[in-house]
């Protein structure tokens, strides 16, 4: 005579499911935190307000518009700018002379501004922003 073998139930223990979820969360958190960020650091001198009266300086001046880059009054193409600014800064030995004043048109796109600032950095220049401040004057 043969005895029937009873079927064995293999249920995973329910109390372990929360531990599994806990471990999964830790795994995804670690994955999310590890994603590194890349970028470009930029040294900027501390901002200070300057009155309209400016001293006669020997600093280079760069104006950026959406379509052109103007170095000391002469318009240049973006690929030309890097070589011209490097040549202009090579002649300067003092740190104060290496300051490059950058003035941007309001519609200047960010990628173009970045390219100009990187070219100035690479050439050893010290980038300084010239911003126009707005003042509201009430006229009676």
């Amino acid at each position: 005579m043969k005895f029937k073998r009873g079927k064995m139930l293999i249920d995973p223990p329910a109390c372990a499911s929360s531990d599994i979820a806990f471990t999964l969360i830790i795994f995804f958190l670690v994955c999310a935190a590890v994603q590194p960020e890349t970028g470009m650091s930029q040294a900027l001198p501390k901002t200070e307000e300057k009155s309209e009266k400016r001293e006669q300086s020997q600093n280079l001046e760069v104006s950026i518009t959406p379509t052109s880059i103007i170095l000391n009054g002469s318009p240049l193409k973006p690929d030309e700018f890097a070589t011209r600014i490097a040549a202009a800064l090579k002649a300067k030995s003092r740190d104060t002379d290496k300051i490059v004043v950058v003035k941007s048109a309001p519609q200047t796109p960010y990628p173009l501004w970045l390219a100009v600032s990187q070219a100035i950095d690479d050439a050893g220049g010290i980038l300084t922003l010239e911003l126009e401040s707005e003042k509201t004057i009430q006229v009676r």
Binding site: S18, T38, G39
Partner: protein, 138 residues
């Protein structure tokens, strides 16, 4: 004759520990996300020469709608300098990293006042960019 009273044991069920841990973790994750800026929609500009950025003390973001955020919270550009000065405190130079995340279609009117504010607060500015060739948007 005195009958001994049966002692009642009040033990915490051990299998509940996993659930308690799980809930605590959810709590801390939500707390951490309050300072997170992953909900902000922006696309980084691309550049050839980018380096790994060190961890920041603060993050300023300009999103696709050209709104400004400081550590994930919306802020007016003119308030950034003051708030950053508080956050950066007396941290020594070189450890005052401020991440600047600018949407690639932003114009000078949007990002220049922010850069000036970071500079005014004495932050070490790091532009967050994508290496040329990668295509994933944030």
């Amino acid at each position: 004759m005195k009958l001994p009273r049966k002692k009642l044991t009040a033990s915490v069920p051990a299998f509940a520990m996993g659930d308690i841990g799980f809930l605590l973790l959810i709590f801390f994750v939500i707390l951490a996300r309050a300072q997170d800026d992953s909900h902000i929609q922006w696309e980084p500009a691309r550049m050839d020469d980018v380096k790994m950025a060190a961890s920041p003390l603060a993050t300023v973001t300009i999103d696709a709608g050209f709104k400004t955020y400081l550590d994930g919270k919306e802020i007016a550009p003119q308030e950034i300098a003051g708030r950053l000065t508080e956050i950066l405190g007396d941290s020594p130079a070189g450890q005052r990293n401020v991440f600047l995340k600018v949407h690639k279609q932003s114009k000078a009117t949007h990002f220049e006042p922010v850069i000036a504010a970071i500079s005014e607060a004495g932050g070490d500015l790091i532009h967050i960019l994508e290496p040329e060739g990668e295509t994933n948007s944030k």
